[in-house]
Symmetry: C2
Subunit: 401 residues, 2 copies
């Protein structure tokens, strides 16, 4: 634990004197500053609330619940343990008696359970027999997905997520009889969407040929009639696809330039100046970036008709807290960004926020440095032959743009 950041040793007595509410709140504020979390004290409160309602709870689940990056949650948890507010149960974080009293008295926590709908997990929709059947089949295909390429921000949404995406698009009337375009599809969302038999046409564009080949293969076996197109999204779509589609789905790189680029390709598919529906999966961001995301979306004449936090769940991408939101955008008189308005050198998170990560081999303990550009985690093999690693530290190479 000690390796992640510098938080040991510095908890002096004044900091742990919570005899007044003001002091406790100040402690939370300093804690937020120390872990450098953009959401500030709200983030700390949200972690405390999650544990209060769900204890014992794992760091990973706290991260999903609060939508905060795993390393942040892990640091906060560690400091709270050292402050005797939390302790470690074998199943995860729990409050000490002292900690429980602190948050009940100072933050007025009372609710012992969430009100999240147990049936739909807050997504608002369910899978009927048809979609459950699709999920069973899709689970097998999802196992065949090629290894992620983190250089281009690939990460795998769970098979359930892909099927729920198809279900919500179907429910909202955006699949039946519609021409549907996937701008990138490393999650294979096109497969359950086409399995419904609802769309009139399904086209998948991606730069990754491994993926396109797999989709071709599944499409052939299942008779899905999906068209695949190799496409570098830095280039415009072939004119024959302009204005062809009713519905677009995209889960772009989680950078502002990535967003502009993928949405602009989406607008080409829907038709500049036309109407259209675009489903956007995007990571939960601190307020300033959220605002930028929404300004970009609005400037293209897309309105946010619906936004469901935590709709998409990913396998193992802890940095974004494993979940992203799903927004249903409806646009009219659509506009795309011009080439010169997008900085193509800052499309991927590794380019915008260069980060060094240190991974320890789970077999022999050797530690490796991974920069996400020259060395990526999925290619890492330890000298001892080990292929399983645990991230033990990360540091920013320079500031965000």
């Amino acid at each position: 634990m000690k390796i992640i950041g510098q938080m040991g040793g510095k908890l002096n007595k004044r900091m742990l004197d919570f005899s007044s509410r003001e002091r406790f709140k100040n402690f939370l504020k300093r804690l937020a500053e120390r872990v450098k979390v953009a959401e500030g004290v709200d983030a700390i409160e949200s972690i405390l609330r999650c544990i209060y309602r769900n204890q014992p709870v794992s760091t990973k689940r706290i991260s999903q619940y609060t939508k905060l990056p795993l390393p942040v949650v892990s640091k906060v948890r560690s400091i709270l343990e050292r402050s005797r507010i939390l302790k470690r149960d074998e199943k995860g974080a729990v409050y000490t008696e002292y900690g429980k009293n602190l948050v009940e008295n100072n933050l007025k926590f009372k609710m012992k359970m969430d009100l999240k709908c147990p049936t739909c997990k807050g997504r608002g929709i369910i899978l009927d027999e048809n979609f459950k059947n699709i999920l069973r089949r899709h689970r097998e295909y999802a196992k065949l997905r090629p290894k992620v390429n983190t250089r281009i921000d690939q990460s795998h949404a769970t098979p359930e997520t892909a099927v729920y995406r198809a279900a919500i698009m179907a429910d909202r009337g955006d699949l039946e009889g519609k021409k549907v375009l996937f701008i990138g599809d490393d999650d294979l969302t096109s497969i359950p969407s086409a399995m419904t038999g609802f769309p009139e046409e399904v086209v998948v564009m991606d730069i990754d040929e491994r993926l396109l080949n797999l989709i071709d293969e599944i499409s052939k076996r299942e008779g899905l009639n999906i068209e695949t197109v190799k496409q570098d999204f830095r280039e415009e779509l072939d004119r024959k696809y302009w204005g062809r589609f009713d519905t677009v789905f995209t889960d772009p790189p989680y950078t502002l330039n990535g967003l502009k680029l993928f949405l602009s390709r989406g607008v080409e598919g829907l038709g500049e100046g036309d109407r259209g529906v675009l489903y956007l999966a995007f990571s939960h961001k601190p307020i300033e970036e959220y605002l930028e995301v929404q300004r970009i979306v609005n400037s293209m004449n897309f309105a946010i008709y619906e936004l469901i936090p935590g709709f998409n769940i990913y396998e193992g991408s802890e940095i974004i807290g494993n979940t992203t939101f799903l927004a249903r955008l409806v646009g009219k008189n659509l506009k795309k960004f011009k080439k010169e308005e997008i900085d193509l050198s800052k499309l991927y998170t590794g380019e915008v926020r260069p980060t060094l990560r240190y991974y320890r081999c789970l077999k022999c303990g050797r530690v490796y440095k991974v920069d996400g550009r020259n060395v990526v985690i999925e290619d890492l093999i330890c000298e001892c032959g080990g292929r399983k690693f645990k991230m033990v530290k990360r540091e920013k190479v320079k500031n965000r743009n």
Copy 2:
């Protein structure tokens, strides 16, 4: 039926020749133009889809489902009946065999049921025992609400809606230990919110003294400790309230100026330049207006963290389709609009879109003209003594601003 608009007699043969898909789509397009619905052919498809999945279904329910105004739905339904696509069952609209084939062949409708979660009705949250108990108590108080004043766009959300609002605020951590301000509260959402015992402070501001008196009375009886303040939102809040609150709830008049005004008062309560959470109930709008709403919200530095369509259900306000969305806005470095940026002469829908409505007395059949300014429906008493009316026609007095 004939009274609502001019749609009889004009269905010529060419219009009803659906031998090709193109022709059917053209028919839908002309239908959209004829009923002057801003959402165009999407709106017509959405009505057809709703009936396909829910038949037999009442006009009112179609309106709730599609979020389209009741008079639009009613006109469309009537034309579709005359075109032999729909027929009238005693329980509502159903397809004719001919109509069913038409939409299955041309719109590719296949889904026989929605996927909306049956447990939470798509809201994503549920009421636990505590909130169910609050609902039972709140239902009785809701009956005491003063008659709506439609001049200032009052309309009553159902008691369930008020309790679900309290529940989602509680679930998201925006009630416990928080200072909560209601900018207007003709729905009495403050009552279930305070009944939870979660907030540190609840303040309700409204211009309607009848309402404030009722809230005072309930607060006293239940020991809720709600503070009520008579406030004309055209004026700034008293300085002592500036920056005092953590959470604001508002369901403003559904005009852009109403939105700017109520949100600006909200920003005063949260603190200019500060962080804060604001829950906004607002009506579903055509895309252009949706975009304007989101631009207004963004320009105040609020980001839309969550947007749930149809969350709020109202009693009898058919014009907005009986439902509005609920958005959870999170802001930082908040900004309000300056006085000169808000047109105070266009706050209420009756000012922006003056409309004449004709109501027929259900007892004797006399028809009355209601302009929503000099005469309002809630004050209407028929010469025969009847107090129940049905709207039979509406017409715009002049164009929107």
